[in-house]
């Protein structure tokens, strides 16, 4: 029974981790960029939900309807106005620009929202479902459903819509995509918009599940990166699987050792993964 409980907890935690890594993975796979501001995007989404709940009294789940579009627009504009231009100066310049954005966002949020810990408390947190002798938190179940739902939605979007196909085409061969009538700069912006929206949903989950601070972004960026690399850079299904594995490691390892294990795991992945060495060559060749 104990093992089953661990697995269920791990998977539920893991689905949220997968969501944390979703936008990161998308941008790594499509724009071929490590977005160092991804963690701050998540926290921005979290503040958005907290603000709407505490100031305007909106139901936490309903805040998604506002947070997600706002975060999409934010991501889209970030890519359109800034990162697309930086990418013309090379992969390194783009990386450092996202680093600058992360610092600006972090300190901007600190100014705007103060250093206080934030959290959306909901009665769901204390309710639990009883099944087969296990207590499963209702909140965790709902957040898992939201996470997995968002991931499936994105998969369908990428596979079934014109914009989705254009995003994949631009990732595969930007020049051939242009020759097919796809505006790559706009497509990349749309991808960053989606990554922003995904970060917004992830931020909502963070605000419901944990407490966070303006400088929590770094922590979530690293989780996102572990999941994205483990999942195979841009592979959405892989991201989900990676989230589950990572969730299990956290549940088994506990808070501190769990993170340490994941960091070491990630370094091993980076050292041994030939796809990454190859991806790095691709980047320097652009």
């Amino acid at each position: 029974m104990y093992i089953l409980q661990v697995i269920i907890n791990g998977i539920m935690l893991g689905s949220v981790y997968a969501l944390l890594g979703l936008g990161m993975s998308l941008i790594l796979g499509i724009v071929k960029l490590t977005n160092l501001a991804h963690g701050e995007l998540i926290i921005l989404g979290a503040y958005c939900s907290v603000f709407l709940t505490s100031r305007l009294g909106i139901n936490p789940f309903a805040t998604l309807l506002i947070t997600v579009p706002l975060m999409f627009i934010f991501g889209y504009l970030l890519q359109r106005l800034l990162i697309n231009h930086a990418m013309k100066r090379g992969a390194e310049a783009a990386l450092l620009v996202t680093f600058g954005v992360s610092v600006i966002l972090k300190d901007g949020m600190l100014l705007l929202f103060t250093a206080d810990a934030r959290h959306i408390s909901s009665e769901l947190g204390s309710s639990s479902v009883n099944a087969a002798g296990m207590d499963i938190s209702l909140l965790s179940i709902i957040l898992s459903i939201i996470s997995v739902g968002a991931i499936i939605l994105l998969m369908v979007f990428l596979n079934r819509t014109y914009t989705g196909r254009a995003i994949r085409a631009a990732a595969d061969d930007p020049r051939a995509a242009e020759l097919s009538g796809i505006n790559v700069a706009k497509t990349f912006s749309a991808a960053m918009g989606i990554a922003g929206a995904a970060a917004g949903i992830a931020g909502f989950c963070v605000s419901m599940k944990w407490t966070f601070y303006p400088d929590s972004g770094g922590h979530y960026l690293l989780i996102a990166f572990v999941v994205a690399v483990l999942g195979g850079l841009g592979d959405i299904r892989g991201t989900l699987a990676a989230g589950f594995i990572f969730g299990l490691i956290q549940v088994i390892g506990g808070a501190n050792y769990g993170m340490l294990i994941s960091y070491i795991f990630l370094i091993i992945m980076l050292v041994t993964n030939p796809k990454i060495a190859h991806a790095a060559d691709d980047l320097s060749a652009r």
Partner: protein, 239 residues
């Protein structure tokens, strides 16, 4: 000439200090098949890339259906009805054949007819229908070229540019692909520009021929009226 669909006027393209295309003029009648021949480095690929919006010209003008399209971005050029099938096809290797084709109908103008265009592509290249769910990267060179032509057709172009279609393909496959292009030209009235190194086959199929050398047009004329000797001399630049 009222039925000229595509016109290049005094076009020059530079890469830094290097002049890749120098003062080229062409005028392509609607519905015709025109071949542009030349050796490696004669500037014909640069000319096509410029027509497709991938390079910006240094001087000169490109007109399509009477409108100046010089310096317009590649995606807008596809929207206007010009489609370039690049060297080697450049399929989206990680996407399925079907998704490759569907990506071709991304432009708003073509979306409404996507279903019909798709049937047409599968009719022209039945092998693509058989392999529609496989990743394009798993296809043979000839099939990839077919998928690229199919992708280009999906955008319902008025003018199709083919860059070195036959490069690296077996003669049998080339024959099939050329036959398909002939059908596209005669059945849809699409204007075709074939850029080739292989002079004989391209000239046999085309109505008019331009021969380029070191960035300039050195010979032009109706394909049937140019003598083999004339072509050979112009092609290699011997006097």
């Amino acid at each position: 000439m009222s039925d000229v669909i595509f016109e290049i006027a005094d076009l020059s393209v530079k890469y830094g200090e290097f002049i890749a295309v120098s003062d080229v003029s062409m005028s392509i009648p609607k519905g015709s098949i025109v071949s542009v021949l030349g050796t490696n480095g004669s500037g014909k690929t640069t000319l096509m890339n410029t027509a497709a919006g991938l390079c910006a010209p240094f001087l000169g003008e490109i007109r399509f259906m009477g409108e100046d399209i010089t310096g317009i971005s590649p995606d807008m050029i596809v929207e206007r009805g010009i489609s370039l099938v690049p060297q080697g096809g450049r399929c989206f290797n990680r996407m399925s054949v079907l998704d490759n084709l569907m990506a071709g109908s991304f432009v708003k103008r073509a979306r409404g007819n996507a279903k019909r265009s798709l049937d047409r592509v599968f009719e022209l290249f039945p092998v693509l229908y058989e392999k529609r769910h496989l990743p394009a990267g798993s296809l043979s060179g000839g099939q990839r070229q077919m998928a690229a032509i199919g992708r280009s057709l999906m955008s319902e172009p008025q003018l199709m540019l083919f860059d070195e279609l036959s490069l690296g393909l077996a003669p049998v496959v080339i024959k099939d692909i050329y036959a398909a292009i002939k059908r596209i030209s005669s059945e849809e009235g699409t204007t075709v520009i074939l850029v080739e190194q292989d002079t004989a086959r391209a000239m046999q199929m085309s109505d008019y021929t331009y021969i380029m050398l070191k960035g300039s047009v050195v010979l032009e004329g109706a394909s049937s009226e140019l003598s083999a000797e004339e072509v050979r001399k112009a092609y290699f630049g011997s006097r």
